[in-house]
Assembly symmetry: C2
């Protein structure tokens, strides 16, 4: 089977509330796990403020380096929601009422409730393709390889499912975890040898402290199951020689 060229993505988390530490971002994890399952690897995440100039510059930088860009946040009705106008500027497009979005929102709200604030959510870069929102009406949108999603985690998650057909991924990235009752320094040298022999597998080592006990998670990631199997076998061999307890291997 011919190996596909790696498909990459960047995630832009737009919002002062993440930078100030007030709000904990969880959208990175939701998007990354979903993209992994489609064979797309997230290669960078940036958290940036609600400043038009910064959004425009950052979008233009990352959209050229990545197959896909996902933005979260800044598409609501208030003054600090400036993602749509910034994306329009980044692509040199008009920022205007999207007729389809206008209709969706008009139908969503009761008579008299589709006020000026809500109408703002119908504005997108010209000819943007909409991302339907099964939870709260207001759609996201796509301009070329840039996908704009809301910041509210539950709404974002509900919108990802509908995007599957828009993404052409590579082979799904397989992840395998081995949890050991040891500390990193006991296995560092042996693990380095395994990594050096298997360049196509990304081997991560992560210490943890759970239930009063120390341990290390070794995470193997690759598009190739047989490569993962080989690494796993080499790791379990040295682990057994060192008489280290395997807590989990799956």
């Amino acid at each position: 089977m011919t190996k596909k060229i790696q498909v990459n993505a960047a995630i832009l988390i737009i919002g002062n509330e993440i930078l100030s530490g007030r709000t904990q971002d969880t959208n990175t994890g939701s998007i990354a796990l979903w993209l992994n399952s489609l064979g797309v690897k997230v290669q960078e995440v940036r958290v940036i403020p609600d400043i038009e100039e910064v959004i425009v510059k950052t979008v233009n930088e990352v959209r050229k380096k990545n197959t896909y860009v996902f933005t979260t946040g800044g598409i609501g009705p208030t003054h600090d929601d400036i993602t749509a106008i910034s994306i329009a500027k980044a692509f040199g497009l008009k920022y205007e009422i999207n007729k389809e979005a206008f209709k969706i929102l008009k139908d969503y709200y009761k008579e008299g409730e589709f006020n000026e604030g809500r109408q703002k959510m119908a504005w997108t870069p010209s000819n943007a393709k909409l991302i339907l929102n099964p939870t709260s009406g207001a759609p996201g949108f796509i301009v070329k390889n840039v996908f704009c999603l809301p910041g509210v985690p539950s709404i974002l998650k509900s919108m990802l499912g509908g995007l599957k057909n828009e993404i052409s991924g590579g082979k799904p990235i397989i992840s395998h975890t081995i949890n050991l009752r040891t500390v990193e320094s006991e296995i560092a040298k042996s693990l380095t040898s395994v990594q050096n022999k298997h360049k196509n597998v990304e081997i991560g080592s992560y210490p943890f402290f759970r239930g009063g006990k120390l341990g290390v998670s070794i995470v193997l990631r690759s598009e190739d199951q047989s490569e993962i199997d080989n690494c796993n076998s080499e790791i379990t061999t040295f682990v057994s020689q060192k008489k280290i307890e395997i807590i989990k291997n799956n």
Copy 2:
């Protein structure tokens, strides 16, 4: 009182485990909240992989744009811990055994336990200043305006306190939150007027859904308490005119 020039910081989260969605970053929040209290504003966060070339390039980009840079992750004993060597390359410094770090680690471990893996944690860019680690021995380090901390959240937090004297911040950033029982579109227009009148206050609007009820948090951030008080007073005035319930104001 003369206004100080704003003191900014960037945070670099180094680690494939965050990009893959396997691990949820919480270090951004810990560092950002701590920096706010010292009058330092985080203006960007980047999550990048354990790839030397990417770390070197990113560090060199952000250290020129920010007063301070904080990195997290990649300073442990395993093959994927490459922050120290990457920082050395970014600054054109040697990567070598730091005598002070070597002594700290040698004293920390029992006789015979200071093995090759652990000795790796004594390597830093030449002449790096150490950041003491009250939790687990292995120190972080400082090169010029770049502060390198570990990725394990509890250890990172334990090390921040000792860094206070290394940071020259501006005026602390004051944050004030008003929670309303409403939806964003009801207040969007009035809030825009308040923001337009008070350019020195960053006004954020964040919808929430808690205990089965919708609400909006308005967050006012500024170095100037009187500006925040003025905004707060204008907001409570329009909120009262609209007969919107104030859930919390503090």
